[in-house]
Amino acid sequence: MRSVASTVLTLVLFATYLGIGALAHDSHFSLGWALASTLLVWAGPAQIILISTLGSGATVVQAAIAVTVSAIRLFPMVVSVMPMMRTPQTRRRHLVLVAHLTAVTLWVECFRFLPHVPRERRIAFIHGLGSGLVCVCLVATAIGYGLAASLSQLFAAAILMLTPLAFLFSTARNCREAADFVALGLGLALFPLATMLNSGIDILVSGVSAGTIAYGVHWWREQQ
């Protein structure tokens, strides 16, 4: 629990989910629906995309495609977390909840906290940290839903700005070798270029190319 309280990201998450609750209210979803989306989807950008596309009258299929493109990032995140959690006795079903709880915040915090946690306790640690974060966000969703009518435009903009700032600096803090900085910097820089291709999967195009170049840097430095 102390880890939940001590992370700046928890505050940011709280504010982000206030925004999601308010967005759900303004798009005429029920409170139960908003809470279910926080619990079952558990990915801020995916929820914002889901609510705003459905709210703007898109079809279910269009919304599903928009959500799934934004969720591709979860695949490499889960893949990179799994080996940190495994012991020779671990069965795959023990890791299902860990996979569900993995989102940007937890992913970032794994690299910060897990080196200090004994390997056999890591699954329990992540279950605790992740469920704590989910509870905080459920409360925030409900408060945001209730407050929706009284939020000003400027406050709403400030909440939406929290996500990119917090994602950027928390990831930058975990950068250790040159390849990490290259992946982050190039990933930012290549996205505007990728949007010019109008492929509909811009993030995937810029992410895979920037990530591969960063891996090239890593490989080249290893050879030296």
Binding site: A64, V67, A71, F75, P83, L160, L165, H218
Partner: protein, 114 residues
Amino acid sequence: MSDFIGDWHALLILLIAGVIPNQIWRMLGLWFGGSLDEGSELLVWVRAVATAILAGVIAQILVQPAGALASIPDWLRYAAVAAGFAAFVATGRSTLAGVASGELLMLAGKWWLG
């Protein structure tokens, strides 16, 4: 209770358009990551791609803002990120300093613009 849940049709849409398209990637990650070695080169690449995709999500929110964030001029959003980054570096990588400075600059700029 029915007010709280709303209609069941909306929950079905949540499942089809929200939960499944999202969870499929986590479960693929679980299936794939379960058999990967911690020190493997493939994992270094996967981690780099994850970081770069996240950077793309950040860039998308800044370049193509949604909702209320679109009411902030482009230059002010980029200036806020630059100010946050300067504070982040100056404080020896403090996430809090970076986020707070970026937000403050954006709010101050918007207030100044009126």
